[in-house]
Assembly symmetry: C2
Homo-oligomer: 356 residues x 2
DNA sequence: TTGTATGCGTTATCAC
DNA sequence: GTGATAACGCATACAA
């Protein structure tokens, strides 16, 4: 092939061969020099590095991946990037992955099976080295079988197995699970409500979202154990979940003493919907959330919630995945502690000097 | 997809050659059959497809990219995935890209030059076909020169050029720019405040964030034109931007008539910080935001803001990029309309039946 | 310490 | 219609 041919105006990409040629060494030497191989002499190394900069050489990740059979890419399947909770976890995941030298591919499943399947297929084609599942409805077990490697972490899973036995999740032996201790969190939350004088409690959730049933069932169990009362369940459609009026309507006319919401976003929506109806929080009803997103701390009234370590979750997911990839062993289930944050939305005596 | 066949647990990955061998055709034929090439006979096509499913063949994206010199990947450099505004835009960008057959690589720059440079390098190595810049401090012009192709869109740029002339941005000729009509939005906002009786107005921004100076300067100009008053500027550090107490302190003891915040998040933080100080909104001071994130509609008082079409922005960015890649022509600057949403945080007569 | 040769899995260019 | 063959750009086993 005529290498002395001047490249057409199409500006050919500069490759390793080009920098090797400029220095007067072989491609292997150039490759090794840039990879920091110990057995390359200092002069040649610097020469190669200089040439690479001169030519503006940028290694091609596809070629490298093809050769080394590793993309240094992590995949994350999530429900919705725009959700504040998931966004926070995703941000931490990405940052930590970058620290470990990995890039991450985010795909949103929007809680739809077809999209999730499609996403899994994309992850497979892209040959991601590891995969994190967050807020997806797809069964992790199924993914793991379709996926030959065991390089899958299941972040905040919330369906199936954990419920059996009803005893909570401590010691859950399934590897690759990363979750917060929702059982303890919900227990603390319900205890707080009962201690605050609540008898009737309603759980507000989103229809069809499998996530949340653990929280709901735990609440049901603790409530009955403490007071004998039966947890009322209110469900709103996914499309209605952001409409305060619809949420308030779903709650209905006869208010419970407290409304326990699946997450903070839903709680804030409920707060607004109730306000529009003339219902006062916490005077007429308590409202509490779950997750501890920043906005929950800035609402009026400020929202009682369970703080989950979103950043830590994302970071741990990335670290666990990288460890599994590089060491070859997937960590056992890891449960992160949560913390109850009691705020004004569930407190009788309004603290502070605010209000008439 | 739905077959109950489990992929071979064998060590080697199944490749196109395997599929071809099973059917008894050449690799070329197998490749063409799966690609839907018109000149492949129906029998062989179905045979190849069946074999591919049987063997669990998954094409290798790296190999294909290497060969066809295209990754079908879009890059998006953003400030923070956890930010509700950026998360929303990112979600729409990803969804639309997927619709067009592209996968997207998100990298967060966290408003730090080094991280952004590193991200650009990663995008280059990964050979993304197009790049979207959102909330980054890096100069788009610089990126475009470092990037040989013109496959870069600049989403919501907020520095430099647009300010010259002071006349706004309509007809900005720079290609690849996608933005909302912030000038009109801020103008409407300031007019609303002035019409509501505000004389003194303060702008609350984040130090070091270049984004926002267009909004600030527009507010300054409109305010002076309308009332002759001088816009006061309050700045909080990036790390203090989420701390209500610090934000309230930054605002100081003598309140203006209205506080115009860089974005909704900052406004909500300010709302909470002021409340802690015993300052009532809107009675003592008006507070308004910008962006129109969902939480702004659910706060108490509900936040007056400028609604920006976040979903549309993300979608348009993806479409523009794909068009530039596939047709080869980058669209001229596109300006999306915004809408003023007047709510309780800047309204004297409190509407509705809420409150004592 | 450096060079040679080979192959990663795919698609495109030729032949037939 | 289909098949052989040659790249794409890189890393590495094996020589020297």
């Amino acid at each position: 092939v005529g290498s002395d041919e001047t490249p057409p105006e199409g500006a050919r990409r500069v490759t390793l061969a080009d920098v090797a040629e400029l220095v007067g060494v072989s491609k292997s030497t150039a490759s090794r020099a840039l990879a920091g191989d110990a057995r390359i002499s200092e002069p040649t190394r610097t020469a190669v590095e200089a040439a690479a900069i001169t030519l503006g050489f940028v290694p091609d990740a596809s070629a490298r991946s093809l050769r080394v059979r590793s993309t240094r890419t992590l995949g994350m399947l999530l429900g919705d990037l725009g959700d504040p909770y998931q966004g926070q976890v995703a941000a931490a995941f990405e940052a930590q992955a970058r620290l470990r030298g990995y890039t991450v591919l985010f795909l949103a499943g929007h809680y739809e099976r077809d999209l999730e399947k499609q996403a899994i297929a994309t992850f497979a084609e892209r040959r991601v080295d590891g995969l994190a599942l967050l807020s997806s409805t797809v069964d992790p077990i199924e993914v793991k079988t379709r996926w030959r490697q065991e390089h899958v972490v299941d972040v905040q899973p919330d369906a199936g197995a954990p419920l059996r036995g009803g005893g909570g999740l401590r010691g859950d032996p399934r590897p690759g699970v990363i979750r917060t201790d929702d059982v303890t969190g919900i227990t603390a939350l319900v205890n707080h409500l009962v201690d605050g004088g609540c008898r009737s409690v309603a759980y507000l959730g989103v229809t069809g979202r499998t996530a949340g049933i653990l929280r709901r069932e735990t609440a049901r169990r603790v409530l009955r154990a403490r007071t004998g009362a039966v947890l009322r369940t209110v469900e709103v459609g996914a499309e209605a979940g952001e409409d305060p009026t619809l949420v308030a309507e779903a709650i209905g006319p006869d208010l419970p003493d407290a409304i326990l919401c699946y997450d903070d976003t839903l709680a804030l929506v409920a707060l607004d919907g109730l306000r529009s109806r003339g219902v006062r929080v916490p005077e007429d009803v308590f409202v509490v959330g779950f997750d501890g997103i920043p906005f929950a701390a800035w609402s009026s009234p400020r929202l009682t919630t369970v703080l989950t370590p979103m950043t830590q979750i994302g970071r741990l997911a990335a670290d666990t995945l990288v460890l599994a990839i590089e060491i070859g062993v997937m960590a056992d289930a890891q449960v992160l502690p949560v913390e109850l944050a009691v705020r004004a939305s569930s407190t009788r005596i309004r603290p502070g000097h605010v209000g008439a």
